[in-house]
Amino acid sequence: MAKPDQIQDETLRTLVLEARAAYLGGQATESVHRSVDALLRLMHQHPDFIALQRRPGTAARVGRVWPGLGVKVELAADQPPRAVYERETFSTSEAITFYEFALESVIDAKL
């Protein structure tokens, strides 16, 4: 069962905990930003761990696919991944979705 205290990387653990505290405190947008920050850090360390979109034509098992939900990721050579927020505010369900995705991804990456 995924829990933030399973995250070994201190910065990632802090970001995930902050994301959780934010949605619990009614700060959904702040929560999304913290979760996205964690995911970008993960993607910088492990560029292939999260797919930005599913590759068609494969019968492979599911990989991790970016949730979308109004946040895009820009990749540029020799640059860390960058988030592009398509809007200013997010809902509680979107915050929880990003939080859960970040939590599971970081734990699965064994960070």
């Binding site: 069962m1 995924a2 619990l24 979109q53 599913r54 068609p56 034509g57 494969t58 019968a59 492979a60 599911v62 696919v65 949730p67 979308g68 939900l69 109004g70 398509e86 505010t89 997010f90 809902s91 509680t92 369900s93 979107e94 929880i96 979705t97 859960e100 995705f101 599971e104």
Partner: protein, 403 residues
């Protein structure tokens, strides 16, 4: 553990024609009603019907409230569930959702299960909905629709997607404060959204009972620790979904049921490119006849050439249709169900009607399952109910689950 049926109203095009025959859709709906009526008599607890638009051959169920209302008059006990209603307001304004849910609850003598969801991308774009906002739309519309079912008068809303002045939405549902509420949870994360909002999770994404158990433990932990209900009562419940064909022998079940399960997955993964012109049934048959479904794949219920859908929700449903755990003789099905029972699944929903399966094969399959598999799980359900009570100890919210 309880059992139900799950309907897409799948209708492959006939191989001898480019379009359906004139009577095909009427026959499909009437056979569906006959199956639901039979399931009610056999003791199945639930039937859920989807809402889909534009998905030719895959789902001809675009007005489930009509079919469920018809089913209500042919049944007495079976719960009637939306699996799910598309909640973005352009699809279904929350006022109309509240009105229809309440009316269905009245005509069915209080048997509605209020399943909610965002809708797939093909459908959302068909209604010109920004798919990046569909989750936020679902959340706002579901919350307001539940208020409309309860408040006298409804306080009104000046939300991001919905603006409604003060009005009394009538009629009110028979079930108080409102019918049990669910959310389609094919994405792993959505199951945990469901727990935090006190909603049942119509789980379409489980791979194995063991994976289900891990998610269920977390689901109930969140119910206890972080639940802020989206409505006025909570419906803590988790479902699993699989394709059912129960026959006296495994071989007969595979002969009568596997193709339908494979076609379910094939139809789900196709996407719609030439509306009104595609013939997916012919494409599926061509793949089968070319022998590209290997002996191994046929035994496992897996096609080695099919693409998994890109959309995660669709992919989850695709996998549910492929798993062969409920295609077999009673002993085979029982063994799989015991593993789900051990994982504390509340409700297993079966896709009985799918692809090219015949109505005359579905009916005896339902009967054999009900006679030889279901009873032991019904007898043990009280034990499961006690387990649920333990999970709910200390939870301060009213519970209106029908599990």
């Amino acid at each position: 553990m309880k059992f139900g049926l799950f309907y897409e109203l799948q209708l492959p095009k006939p191989l001898d024609s480019d379009q359906w025959h004139p009577d095909d859709e009427r026959r499909l709906v009437m056979e569906t009603l006959e199956q639901i009526e039979f399931a009610d008599k056999l003791g199945f607890d639930y039937v859920f019907e989807v809402e889909h638009d534009f998905l030719e051959e895959y789902a001809h169920s675009s007005a489930p409230e009509v079919v469920l209302a018809a089913a209500s008059q042919r049944t007495r006990y079976i719960r009637l569930g939306h699996g799910i209603i598309h909640m973005p307001p352009v699809f279904n304004h929350p006022i109309r959702v509240a009105e229809r849910i309440a009316t269905l609850d009245l005509v069915s003598n209080g048997r509605v299960e209020f399943g909610t969801g965002e809708g797939g991308d093909t459908e959302n774009t068909g209604f010109s909905i920004d798919v990046s906002r569909k989750k936020a739309m679902w959340e706002e519309a579901t919350r307001e629709s539940l208020k409309m079912m309860v408040q006298v008068p409804y306080e009104g809303c000046d939300g991001e997607f919905i603006k409604v002045p003060v009005r009394n939405i009538i009629p009110k549902p028979l079930q108080k404060p409102h019918p049990p509420v669910w959310v389609a949870a094919s994405r792993r994360e959505t199951m945990f959204v469901a727990a935090r909002f006190g909603m049942g999770a119509l789980g379409f994404g489980f791979e194995t009972p063991e994976e289900a158990q891990e998610r269920i433990e977390r689901y109930w932990e969140l119910i206890r620790e972080e639940c802020t209900p989206i409505g006025y009562a909570i419906n803590p419940a988790v479902t699993a979904l699989g394709s059912l064909m129960c026959c006296p022998t495994n071989e007969e079940a595979v002969t009568k049921g596997l193709s339908g399960a494979q076609m379910f997955g094939f139809l789900l993964g196709r996407g719609q490119r030439n509306y009104g012109r595609d013939h997916f049934h012919r494409q599926f048959k061509a793949l089968s006849e070319e022998g590209r479904m290997s002996q191994y794949a046929q035994r496992r219920g897996i096609s080695i050439v099919d693409e998994e859908p890109e959309d995660e929700s669709a992919r989850a449903l695709y996998r549910a249709s492929r798993r062969g755990g409920f295609i077999g003789a009673p002993d085979f099905i029982r063994d799989t169900l015991r593993r789900y029972e051990a994982a504390h699944i509340d409700l297993v929903l079966f896709i009985a009607q799918s692809g090219d399966r015949k109505h005359e094969d579905i009916m005896p399959s339902l009967e054999l399952f009900a006679r030889e598999v279901m009873p032991e799980f019904q007898e043990r359900h009280e034990k499961h109910r006690q387990w649920r009570e333990q999970q709910l100890e200390g939870v301060p919210h009213p519970v209106n689950s029908t599990i």
